[in-house]
Amino acid sequence: MMITNWLRHEVIVFFAVMLLSCFPMPGWAASWEEVQKEAAKITSINARFTQSKHMTILAKPLVSQGRFYFQAPDSVRWEYASPVKSILLMSRDGIKRYTLGSRGLAEDASGSLQSMQVVLRQISQWSRGRFTDNEHFSATLKGGKERKIILEPREKGMAKMISRIVISLSSDRPGVLESVAIFEGEGNHTLFAFTDVVVNAPLDESLFRKPQ
């Protein structure tokens, strides 16, 4: 039961960042209405990602790399290639995680992933650009030279886990991200970078149902 709670909150935040990072954002600095208008045009996303974990006890960040696929309204494949091969599949059929370990590529046996149905609902909202409807985070658009989207937790419980999420947009390249940072406090934060982003290309449905 307790496992489902941390998993739910953490993954909600995780996917929030992931989706915010991937969507093209030419209108984001202007208004939420434009965000929703732009988001409505997205049917699929396919991108590489690099995740850099910064901690006070690490001299250099712990880097993970992989690939991300999204099919509107709520199908996701989040696949790590390194340092640990792991594939999270989310679709209306359910949620499964496969990890390469001592017994080969095996499905997560904890059974806790089914609680992530709530994540699917969040993804459905965000894929339509409805970020202000989020029950866990308040969202602020900041314009000017350094354009940012800042997500801050609404509840104390969430604030203990995630103190802030900052999405920085390029000032000279509309729609391009400079960085996305999740701050956990105590000198810990995670940076996500997406490259080779392909939008609205057809994706095979099996990507969201089969690990290989």
Partner: protein, 228 residues
Amino acid sequence: MMTRPMIPAGAALMLLTVFFASCGTLPVIRPLDAAGTQAAEERCRLPFLEAPHRLVHAIEAGSPERAMGTVLGVTLFDPLSGIVRSAILTLEGFVLFDARYDGGVEVHRAFPPFDDPHFGENMMDDIRLIFLAPQGRLLRAGTLDNGAIVCRYEDPRGRTIDVMVRPDGAWEIATYGRQIERLRRVEALSVKNRIPEVVALTGFFTVNYRLHMTLISAEPVSPGDIRY
């Protein structure tokens, strides 16, 4: 007048069977001559690095029969001071647990399922068992039937700790309670430059669990990196 026993005989027999099944005998150590014993004692220090290090592992956790999930573990330890700093992260980078040991456990951050008050102590016990040389007195050193060098220690809590180093450099640590019940077994495989690429820890007795740790990175650090 006859009185009924508090525990039926069958149940009592079963309890005794379970009790004795969980206990056992310690592996037989073949003695060596004085020079051989000294060499064995030196070889038993191989698993334990002398300088502070930072290690990052992928940790597959579960029961001995099946894995439940994988997390990332960051561990810093200073063999001289015995200070340990450790964090557990999800693959997505979220820090679930962060604690430091310096004679006692100081938890900096803990989220379910790692927020049990005893979790930090047990985790630090396991980390110290794997990476730091045993505290306590050396009872004897020698060889096992399989040719491994073995050193047997008794720690301040009365537990027996066997450190075994095989001819290929792989090593194993086994701990036993006062009734010679098995407590932990640590097996290190593919050892390169004294650092194993895989460490498997199995916990017995009250709770059976297994951690399969695959090395991601290892680097020396300064004692100051572990100070806070």
